[in-house]
């Protein structure tokens, strides 16, 4: 069959293949796997000019802290090859104003909202979760643990399995049972599987990975660091292989845990890599700055790429890359027999992907 690689076409140019895109977000079902990466979509309102935010699997909002926060001094960003450094410093209006304005807007608009929370102590995370518990219309809570822990010399929670699990179990305890709690992991650790395991044991219903990786750019004119904050988080296509590796490793170790994959997704093929590595949902971040329409474009491209490979359901592609080559095809109930246009994926499309992992 012909493999069409149309990555710049407008959605709707060719009808989308019928692929069932619904997926799991930490146990809850969402109609499609596309999320916005926290901090790259504000609270969805600005992007609603460019596409219908209710078409997303969910809007993940900018990490919010308990109190208003001014963030860091400028310059806050530096462009790098296929990426950027940022040191925003979690600027935001604080939880109360966020709930009254941003979350209220998302609710009125009918968008699924995953609220990202950030804190500098277990107590702050707990308070955030407790206040959100009394707020309806939330599809999930993402816990940004890439923050320094003031109680432990500023060591980032995500780099300390013990501190990370303390935060996650506190948030899980304080969050309504039906609402998934998703832990957002940092790639800046020696063993990401160890952290993943710790937070899952602490009650995380899903994992988001990856957050940015710490970087530094020096301005060769001034011969000083470009960012006022000296270091910043690297994001964009430059970190994609690093992110895919993290998803791969964690999915191999914890195959039943839903993962939101992100890090440099720019096209449907990029998104497909994350799905094949084991992500059940994906998020677009930095690429939104390049193309505000990217989330929906990438979602459509992904659906096309799945269809072109003979997948009827997104779920059949999750973790597919972990299967050994040459696994014999097993016909399944929903597989249409005698399809002579079958793609390699078709034969395996209906199989339980879990049995092929080891």
């Amino acid at each position: 069959m012909t493999r069409m690689r149309i990555t710049t076409e407008k959605p709707g140019a060719r009808p989308l293949p019928p692929v069932y895109m619904a997926t799991s977000l930490g146990g809850a079902t969402i109609p499609n796997p596309m999320l916005t990466a926290s901090g790259c979509a504000a609270a969805g309102r600005e992007l609603d000019q460019f596409f219908d935010v209710t078409d997303l699997g969910a809007v993940v909002t900018k990490s919010i802290m308990l109190k208003p926060r001014s963030g860091r001094a400028t310059p806050r960003m530096a462009e790098t090859a296929s990426g950027m450094l940022n040191s925003i410093g979690l600027q935001g209006p604080g939880l109360d104003a966020f709930v009254d304005t941003d979350l209220a807007w998302l609710k009125r608009r009918g968008a699924r909202a995953v609220v990202s929370i950030a804190g500098s102590s277990v107590e702050e995370f707990t308070k955030l979760a407790q206040r959100l518990r009394n707020t309806d219309g939330i599809a999930g809570v993402e816990v940004n643990i890439s923050c320094p822990n003031v109680e432990n010399r500023g060591l980032v929670f995500a780099c300390d399995p013990l501190a990370a699990s303390a935060v996650i179990s506190a948030v899980r305890r304080s969050t309504a049972p039906g609402i998934p709690v998703i832990a957002k992991l940092s790639p800046d650790v020696t063993d990401i599987v160890e952290v993943a395991r710790a937070v899952v044991d602490a009650g995380a219903d899903g994992l988001s990975m990856i957050n940015t990786s710490l970087g530094l750019v020096i301005d060769t004119q001034t011969m000083r660091p470009t960012l006022a904050g000296v270091t910043g988080g690297l994001s964009g296509p430059a970190i994609r292989p690093l992110a895919v590796r993290c998803v791969w490793q964690v999915h191999a170790a914890l195959p039943t845990v839903p993962i939101v994959g992100m890090g440099g997704i720019r096209t449907g093929l990029d998104a497909l890599e994350f799905i094949l590595a084991g992500a059940s949902a994906i998020a677009v971040g930095t690429v939104i700055f390049n193309d505000p329409g990217a989330p929906i474009r990438v979602l459509h491209e992904l659906q096309r790429e799945l269809g072109d490979r003979g997948f009827d359901r997104l779920s059949d592609a999750i973790g597919y890359a972990h299967r050994p080559h040459g696994v014999p095809a097993e016909p399944t109930a929903d597989e249409s027999a005698g399809d002579d246009e079958a793609a390699p994926g078709d034969a395996l499309a209906g199989r339980e992907h879990k049995e092929h992992r080891g």
Binding site: T7, T8, G39, C40, A41, A42, E46, L47, Q49, F50, K62, K67, P68, R69, S70, G71, R72, A73, T74, P75, R76, M77, E79, A81, S82, G83, M84, N86, S87, I88, G89, L90, Q91, G92, G94, A118, S120, S146, C147, P148, V150, G154, T212, L214, A228, G229, T231, G232, G233, G236, P237, T286, V287, I288, F289, N290, D291, P292, G293
Partner: protein, 286 residues
């Protein structure tokens, strides 16, 4: 006003002194454009390694030209993105988002206005002048640049104003010096009540100080480093005093780029003033 993302097409590109004037056929942008709005362009093509959008003031638009709706910008080549833009030719595709930002505030009554442009910063001032004059305002221009080839629109300014003062730092055109050297005399002569300015931050700050000294309001279009231009990344902030007297770090792409000069904390740009809402009291984080 909603912004749109358009896969536009280059209609023309021409040299104007050291600058390039680029006209793009971009349906949907001209219609909502007001003076002071800007556009954000993707540079380098669909697989570009330079992801961040480049912001440019809208010089002028045409809603129903023979080629459809067009947007024109004027730019200097300063790095990779603008170098790529300078290589565009007629019919090349160009991804453009706009109109963006908050435009210049127009007076309800006919007033006397002085428009100050530094370098390509004059670009958004001509449509502003037209609209001010249509409201019965007296308009004078002060244009300055380092050198004559970096002065944009001197003739156009003459056509649409009562008086024009021109400065170049090397004296190649007009008076040798800076716009701020001639601005006080201009304000005194005309009795300007409002000063509109666009140019480098240092110039804006000085213009605001002069305007204030003469009892005039100022409207300044700032230029902060931007990654998205649409309000989602929080890179483009500067300290601005609100109606409640509190200083907040505002996004210059959506709450600006035009600010009242007396509201911007010019001396504190590049810092978080200690009295800003949410200023750090404890450890920072990335």
């Amino acid at each position: 006003m909603a912004a749109v993302q358009v896969r536009g097409e280059v209609l023309s590109i021409r040299r104007v002194g050291d600058y390039h004037a680029l006209t793009v056929v971009a349906p949907g942008i001209a219609e909502g454009t007001r003076p002071g709005h800007f556009v954000a362009l993707a540079v380098g093509g669909p697989a570009s390694a330079t992801l961040l959008r480049r912001a440019f003031s809208i010089y002028r638009v045409q809603e129903r030209g023979i080629y459809g709706s067009t947007v024109e910008i004027v730019f200097a080549v300063t790095g990779k993105g603008t170098a790529w833009l300078a290589e565009r030719r007629a019919h090349d595709p160009l991804d453009i988002v706009g109109p963006l930002g908050r435009p210049f505030a127009l007076p309800k009554e006919p007033v006397t206005a002085t428009l100050v442009g530094g370098g390509y910063g004059s670009a958004p001032l001509f449509t502003l002048a037209e609209q001010l004059r249509a409201r019965g305002c007296r308009v004078d221009f002060v244009l300055g640049a380092s050198s004559e080839p970096r002065l944009f629109g001197a003739l156009e300014a003459k056509r649409m104003s009562t008086q024009v003062a021109i400065t170049t730092e090397d004296g190649t055109l007009g008076e040798r010096g800076r716009v701020t050297d001639v601005l006080p005399a201009m304000i005194k002569r005309s009795g300007a009540e409002v000063v509109y300015a666009c140019g480098p931050m240092g110039m804006l700050r000085a213009v605001h100080t002069i305007a204030e000294a003469y009892g005039a309001h100022s409207q300044c279009a700032v230029e902060e480093s931007m990654a998205c231009g649409i309000g989602v990344c929080m890179t483009c902030v500067l300290p601005v005093i609100g109606d409640d007297g509190q200083t907040r770090m505002l996004r210059s792409c959506v709450e600006g780029p035009v600010f009242r000069g007396d509201r911007v904390r010019w001396d504190d740009i590049g810092t978080i003033p200690a009295d800003a809402v949410g200023a750090p009291v404890e450890q920072e984080q990335r």
